[in-house]
C-alpha cells in the first residue's frame, strides 16, 4: 500500500468540502521539503475556521507541531509550536494562575490559527486582539527559511502575518504573554434587553467591563427587533468567590461533555425550531438581571461543551456570517441587517452581537475595526446565497467588512482588505476565490 495524501478536507462549517493533498510533519527539515516541492501551499491548524480559508491545493497540517517549548511561570510567557491548541495552553496555565489575554468563542483553535486570524474575543474594546500579546513567532517563508518575526525583528513580516490568513508562510512556533488570574471563575451579570435601542445602551453602559457580549434573537420583528441578553463579566478574585469555590479557585471539576453522534437530518433545523429555541433561551432567564459566578469554560466556550455541534446543521453544512459595521452608522446598519434576516425567515441558531473597540493600526490585516459586529450561523441551502448577497449589500452600504476566518461566500469587495500578502507560494482557496471575483 503506497500512502496517498489526497483526502476529503473541510473546515468547521462542513462547507465547502474539497479533495486535496494534506500532509503533516513535525520536523522543520521535512516541512521545508514540503514547501519547496509544492506550489500553492497553505497551512491549516485544527480546521476550526468555518469556510475555505485554510483549504488549498497542498495543505500543510500543523497538527504534529503540538509541543510546548517553554513556560516562564514568573512572567507568564509561554512558547509553543503553532499546532498547540488554546485548550492545551489553558490546561497548563489556568491551574498556575494564568489565562489567555484574548480568546475566541472556542478553545479548540491552534495558536498558529489564532495569529493568522488575529482572533478577537469578548474583550476587544478593552484589550484588543490576540496579536497584542504575541511577542514573536517563527515563520517559514517561500524559500523554506525560518524567520523570527517580532515588533523589532522582521517587523514587516510580523505585521503582514497577523491576520494574514496564512498567506505569508507557515507559522512554526509562537511566544506570547498570558494574564494573571486569581480564580478560574467569572463574575457575570446577564441583563435582558427588550430591543435594539436597549441593547446598544447597555453596551455603552458596560464599557468599563472587561468582557461583554450579547446573544440576540434574530427572528424578532417590529418593536421587538434586537431582543437580546447582554452578558458581561470579570475574572473573579479569590476573595469574591462563594465559600464552596474558594478552597480550590483555580481548578474546575470535570464535566460531562456530550458529542453530537451523527449529522442531523435536514428537517431538524428550520425557522420554526430556531424560533422555539430562541424563545426558550430568552425565557430561560426569568429575571431582568442575574448576577452569578460561573466557570471560565461556561462563560467563554459554551458550545465547546457539546463536541461536534457542527453536525446539527446536517451534511450540507453551514456558514457563519460575521461582519463589522463602523460605529457611526452601526446601529442603523444592524437594524437593517436584522430586518433582512427576520424577513428572509432564514433563522440563525446563534446570533452574537459585540461592540469592537479601537483597532491597532499596525495590525492592518486584522478584521476588527471600531464598530458593531454581528456573527450569525446559517444552514447552507438553495436560498442562502441570495440572503448573503442582500446582507453583503447592506454591509457595503454602511462601509463594513467581513471576517475572513468565517467567510466562504461573501463578495470580494468586503473581503479583499488584506495587504502585503502577495506570494505565489502560499495560496488558499479563499484567496483565489476573492481575487478571481475582483
Amino acid at each position: 500500500m503506497k500512502p496517498n495524501f489526497i483526502q476529503k478536507v473541510t473546515n468547521w462549517g462542513n462547507f465547502p468540502v474539497v479533495e486535496k493533498e494534506m500532509k503533516s510533519e513535525d520536523s522543520f527539515r521535512k516541512i521545508k521539503e514540503f514547501v519547496l516541492n509544492h506550489n500553492e501551499v497553505i497551512a491549516r491548524g485544527n480546521g476550526r475556521c468555518y469556510g475555505d480559508a485554510s483549504l488549498g491545493e497542498h495543505i500543510f497540517s500543523t497538527k504534529k507541531l503540538n509541543k510546548f517549548i517553554s513556560f516562564d511561570r514568573l512572567n507568564g510567557i509561554i512558547e509553543c509550536e503553532s499546532g498547540v491548541l488554546l485548550s492545551e495552553v489553558l490546561e497548563i496555565s489556568v491551574p498556575q494562575g494564568y489565562f489567555l489575554y484574548v480568546t475566541p468563542g472556542t478553545k479548540f483553535v491552534s495558536v498558529g490559527g489564532a495569529i493568522a486570524s488575529d482572533v478577537h474575543g469578548k474583550n476587544h474594546h478593552a484589550e484588543g486582539c490576540f496579536s497584542e500579546y504575541v511577542i514573536e513567532f517563527k515563520l517559514m517563508n517561500e524559500s523554506g527559511d525560518i524567520m523570527t518575526c517580532s515588533r523589532e525583528e522582521n517587523s514587516d513580516k510580523f505585521w503582514a502575518t497577523i491576520g494574514g490568513m496564512g498567506l505569508t508562510g507557515i507559522i512554526l512556533t509562537a511566544k506570547f504573554k498570558l494574564k494573571n488570574i486569581e480564580s478560574a471563575y467569572i463574575r457575570q451579570e446577564s441583563i435582558k434587553a427588550e430591543n435594539l435601542d436597549e441593547i446598544f445602551r447597555l453596551f455603552d453602559e458596560s464599557e468599563s467591563w472587561t468582557y461583554t457580549v450579547a446573544w440576540i434573537d434574530c427572528l424578532q420583528k417590529g418593536k421587538d427587533i434586537g431582543r437580546s441578553i447582554l452578558m458581561r463579566g470579570e475574572h473573579a478574585f479569590q476573595h469574591e468567590l462563594p465559600d464552596h469555590l474558594k478552597k480550590n479557585p483555580l481548578r474546575l471539576k470535570g464535566k460531562f461533555e456530550p458529542t453530537v453522534p451523527f449529522y442531523f437530518p435536514n428537517f431538524v433545523l428550520n425557522s420554526l425550531t430556531v424560533k422555539i429555541f430562541n424563545l426558550l433561551y430568552y425565557k430561560k432567564q426569568a429575571k431582568k438581571e442575574v448576577k452569578n459566578f460561573i466557570d471560565y469554560e461556561t462563560f467563554f466556550y459554551p458550545l465547546d461543551a457539546v463536541h461536534e455541534w457542527n453536525r446539527i446543521y446536517g451534511k450540507s453544512g453551514f456558514i457563519q456570517y460575521q461582519m463589522v459595521i463602523p460605529k457611526e452608522t452601526g446601529k442603523e446598519g444592524m437594524k437593517k441587517i436584522l430586518e433582512t434576516i427576520a424577513h428572509s425567515g432564514n433563522g440563525s441558531f446563534l446570533a452574537v452581537l459585540k461592540l469592537f473597540g479601537k483597532n491597532n493600526p499596525q495590525a492592518y490585516n486584522s478584521f476588527p475595526v471600531e464598530g458593531y459586529t454581528l456573527a450569525l450561523d446559517f444552514k447552507v441551502n438553495s436560498k442562502l446565497k441570495k440572503l448573503v448577497d442582500k446582507l453583503d449589500e447592506i454591509v457595503q452600504e454602511f462601509g463594513g467588512r467581513i471576517y475572513l476566518t468565517k467567510d466562504s461566500m461573501s463578495r470580494s469587495s468586503l473581503t479583499n482588505y488584506l495587504k502585503n500578502i502577495q506570494n505565489p507560494k502560499f495560496v488558499s482557496l479563499q484567496h483565489k476565490r476573492i481575487i478571481n471575483n475582483n
Binding site: M1, N4, K23, D26, S27, K67, F68, S70, C80
Partner: protein
C-alpha cells in the same frame, strides 16, 4: 520510566497519560534514534508536567554499547520501537529492507529489552510493556516480514512474562491494530478500526493498571484476529489479506 522508541506518538501519548494520572517518575529516559524529535518531547513534558527527562541515543541498526545504560533504573519500561519497512511488493526481496525490519522489531531489540529485564528481575518489581502487533498473530501476504518479526517479539514477551512471573515483574503485551500514526499516515485505514495515539494510550494505561497480560487496543481487533487465526490454512493461503 524507560521509553524505547520515544519518538513514537503512542509512546509519547502514554507518557503524557501516565503523568496526567499523577504518576511520578524521578526521571524519564527517552531512548531514540531521532534526537531532535525526542528533545522536543523532553521540553514539552518539562513545560507541561515539570518532569525531568534524559535523552539517550539508541540506533538498533548499529553496534550498541550497553555500558552507557549502567546507571539507568526504573520501575516501568515502555517499548514502542518498531519499523514497518516497505510492503511486500516493493521490499520483499530487498535484503537491506528485510534485515532492517528484523533488526528493529526483534533481533537487535531483544538484547536491549533483556538488558533491562535483568535489572527488573534483580530488583523484583516493575512492569515491562511491549508494543507488538496484530500482524504477528498470523502471517499474511501483505506484510509478513514485519509480521514474522512481531510474532517473534510476541513470543519473546510471552516467555519473558512466564519467566519473570515469580520474580514479581509483570510483562504486558499490547497488540495495537491500526493506529493513526506516522507509520500509517496516508494509508486508507477504516476509521472504525483505527485508534488515535491518545485512545491507544488510554487503553494501554488501563491494561497496565489492571496488570493485564495481553491487550488489543480496540476490542474489535480481538474478534477480527480470532477469526483470522481460525481460518483453515487451505482456505487462508488463497485469500488476499
Amino acid at each position: 520510566m524507560i521509553v524505547l522508541g520515544s519518538t513514537s506518538e503512542v509512546a509519547q501519548a502514554f507518557v503524557e497519560k501516565a503523568l496526567q494520572e499523577g504518576e511520578k517518575f524521578e526521571k524519564i529516559y527517552l531512548f531514540t534514534s531521532n534526537k531532535e524529535t525526542a528533545e522536543r518531547f523532553a521540553r514539552h513534558i518539562d513545560v507541561k508536567f515539570v518532569q525531568q527527562s534524559e535523552i539517550i541515543e539508541l540506533d538498533l541498526t548499529r553496534e550498541i554499547d550497553y555500558t552507557t545504560f549502567d546507571n539507568i533504573n526504573s520501575n516501568v519500561l515502555f517499548c514502542a520501537t518498531g519499523y514497518l519497512g516497505e510492503g511486500t511488493e516493493e521490499g520483499l526481496y530487498d535484503n537491506k529492507n528485510t534485515e532492517k525490519i528484523i533488526h528493529i522489531n526483534y533481533s537487535k531489540l531483544v538484547p536491549v529489552m533483556n538488558y533491562f529485564a535483568q535489572k527488573f528481575e534483580s530488583r523484583r518489581s516493575g512492569t515491562i510493556i511491549g508494543l507488538s502487533s496484530v500482524a504477528g498473530d498470523r502471517g499474511r501476504q501483505s506484510n509478513f516480514i514485519y509480521g514474522s518479526a512481531k510474532a517473534a517479539f510476541t513470543a519473546y514477551l510471552s516467555g519473558l512474562r512466564n519467566y519473570l512471573f515469580d520474580k514479581k515483574v509483570h510483562v504486558l503485551t499490547i497488540k495495537p491494530g491500526f493506529m493513526a500514526t506516522k507509520m500509517t499516515e496516508g494509508l486508507p485505514l477504516n476509521p472504525k478500526l483505527t485508534a488515535t495515539p491518545k485512545q491507544a494510550a488510554t487503553c494501554i494505561y488501563k491494561a497496565y493498571k489492571k496488570q493485564k497480560n495481553v491487550a488489543y487496543v480496540l476490542p474489535i481487533w480481538a474478534v477480527i484476529m480470532m477469526i483470522i487465526r481460525n481460518i483453515p490454512e487451505f482456505i487462508f493461503k488463497k485469500l488476499k489479506l
